[in-house]
């Protein structure tokens, strides 16, 4: 809609003789879509960018290596930590040390890579599976749609953490298994959404026109359907990413996700949970890291869906 009125105005500007569209009291056309981001939105974007950057440069910035035991004192408070056994041996730890005397700050930085890497990979997988089947169901007639939707209904009516536990009980745990499991589990919601969006598009006039022109399957997919469902799905991508981060973190927290010594935010909380008693940063810092990431993504999604008229937000609530 916005693009249409934009064309008309630009035409008016360049070709003055096309006066057809000029009339008195014409409402100002939305020439440029103004992108205004609220302050919390900006902070959220900064936090997400920070963690994304840490995924790439974290190991370079981190003061110590992931699995190195660097201090004699376990659960040391933030700041300078001096060895109780060796005189004069001190080291600085921004967030203290963990249950083995490793640097918490470094481990959290390393953990960003594991947690976000797995989550993003799983979300992408969920999208590939979900969108492919969702659009297929919408295009390929009611019979296939019926079958796919019923299968989907079964998977969607099992709590995701239960499915995860059962799969891990059966096949064990490793990073590829985590990615595939999370991707498969969350593809159910993506399937439902993309099927619903694609169904909406399938009944529009332009799709009918394309059909009448005799366009093939790929044209329909790439030129008619995908462009129209990409925006709402992009917003959902954020939501799905949050769920998957929480899912992976929960499994790791239960000791069934990423295995030590690889640092992963959920796992970091688990291994350092005893540190709560010493008010150590070790269990709090990774938990804070997850929370800052998920809350920020949520804020950005809110910002995006507020821009797209809130219609999407409603459809997501179902």
């Amino acid at each position: 809609m916005g693009a249409g009125s934009m064309n008309i105005t630009s035409e008016n500007k360049t070709n003055a003789h096309v006066a057809v569209f000029e009339f008195e009291g014409r409402p100002a056309a939305p020439i440029k879509r103004e992108v205004k981001i609220s302050v919390p939105g900006k902070i959220a974007i900064a936090i997400v960018l920070f963690w994304v950057a840490m995924c790439f440069v974290g190991p370079l910035v981190a003061p110590y290596r992931e699995a190195d035991i660097v201090a004699d004192q376990t659960f040391a408070p933030a700041g300078e930590s001096c060895s109780p056994f060796r005189k004069g041996v001190c080291s600085f730890h921004l967030l203290g040390t963990d249950y083995l005397g490793r640097d918490v700050f470094s481990r959290v930085l390393y953990g960003s890579r594991t947690t976000m890497g797995i989550s993003v990979a799983a979300t992408l997988l969920a999208y590939v599976i979900g969108v492919t089947f969702g659009i297929t169901a919408a295009i390929r007639g009611p019979k296939l749609d019926m079958v796919l939707s019923r299968i989907n209904d079964v998977f969607i009516s099992i709590p995701s953490i239960m499915l995860g536990l059962v799969v891990i009980a059966a096949v064990g745990t490793s990073i590829p298994i985590l990615i595939v499991t999370a991707g498969a589990i969350y593809s159910t919601t993506v399937f439902r959404l993309s099927r619903a969006f694609a169904m909406d598009v399938m009944v529009t006039d332009f799709v009918e026109a394309a059909r009448a022109r005799g366009e093939g399957l790929w044209w329909m997919l790439y030129r008619e359907i995908l462009p129209n469902i990409v925006m709402p799905l992009a917003t959902d991508f954020g939501i799905r990413l949050i769920y998957i981060v929480l899912f992976i973190a929960s499994l790791s927290f239960l000791g069934l996700g990423v295995q030590p010594p690889v640092a992963d935010w959920g796992g970091l909380v688990r291994e350092n949970i005893q540190g709560i008693a010493y008010a150590s940063w070790a269990p709090i810092a990774p938990a804070l890291a997850i929370s800052s990431l998920t809350i920020s993504i949520n804020l950005i999604v809110d910002e995006m869906s507020a821009k797209s008229g809130g219609k999407l937000a409603k459809s997501l609530l179902k």
Partner: protein, 322 residues
Amino acid sequence: MIHRMIIKRIGIGLLILVAVSMLLFAATEILPGDLAQIRLGQEATPETLNALRKQLGLDRPATIRYFEWFIRMCRLDPGESLFKEGGMAGAQTVRELIADRLQNTLLLSCIVAGIAVPIALILGLLAAMFPTSIYDRTITFVTMCLMSVPDFFLATVLILVFTVSLGWLPSIVTVTSYKSVGHMLYVLALPIVTLCLKIFGQIARMTRAAVLNVMSSPYIEMAILKGLPRKYIILKHALPNVISPIVNVIAICIAYLVSGVVIVEAIFGFPGIANLMVNSVHGRDMPVVQACGMIICTAYVLFILAADILSILSNPRLRHPK
């Protein structure tokens, strides 16, 4: 018509349960190595393996074993655990393992639902009554934060504040014999608060959205334009149409509670069914995993089913078909 809808919905619910049971059973079948191998572990020799397989009936086809297992599940007798626990002679039956823990989990969930649902409903309704006010924005933001943080973060912070700093509440909940209601609430306080905070966000947010959705519909606008008093609009026009989505929200959130309890039980060491399931997953004790999974999934499916039926029943448009 309404009866047919409900019966159809119940039918779908039952079908889903059967499908879930197939999935849970299939999970054991794709195991690398079978139950006999897990049970024997290091002591496995070809002879003992074969003997145990015969004893457990693993030499028969999977479909037959599935039906046997399914029938046993329906008769609430899910068989034996793979491992001995607490030095007892012979394997423990899954039923013994589950019985007490199921009670604990049910108790915890009921208390949480009883506390969280009314408060969250009121908060959500208030937020919807005064949209875009400071109160509304605070509620929206806080609930959003509560929903997007991991359960164990809430639990960790609560323990840090109430156990470590203030020393008021116990952080490990292993006691299950309570002296009085007050003692029970004291022991269970932290798990209850953690779960409540988690559910609050969901219910308050969805209630607010549901009410705002109805309040922005054309017939409410019409009622406002007619000059009806505000109270009348809310009670007579909006409320009947809001009940259905809200009932739906509550049932969905209680269903969510069923799975949300996993993390909370783990962190507080609460002797509940979800904790049992997690421990069994660690030990790959498949009969227990299957039974716990089946119970939790059944509860979940039933609550979702209840949500759908209640929303059919409370939808005025379906109750009075044209």
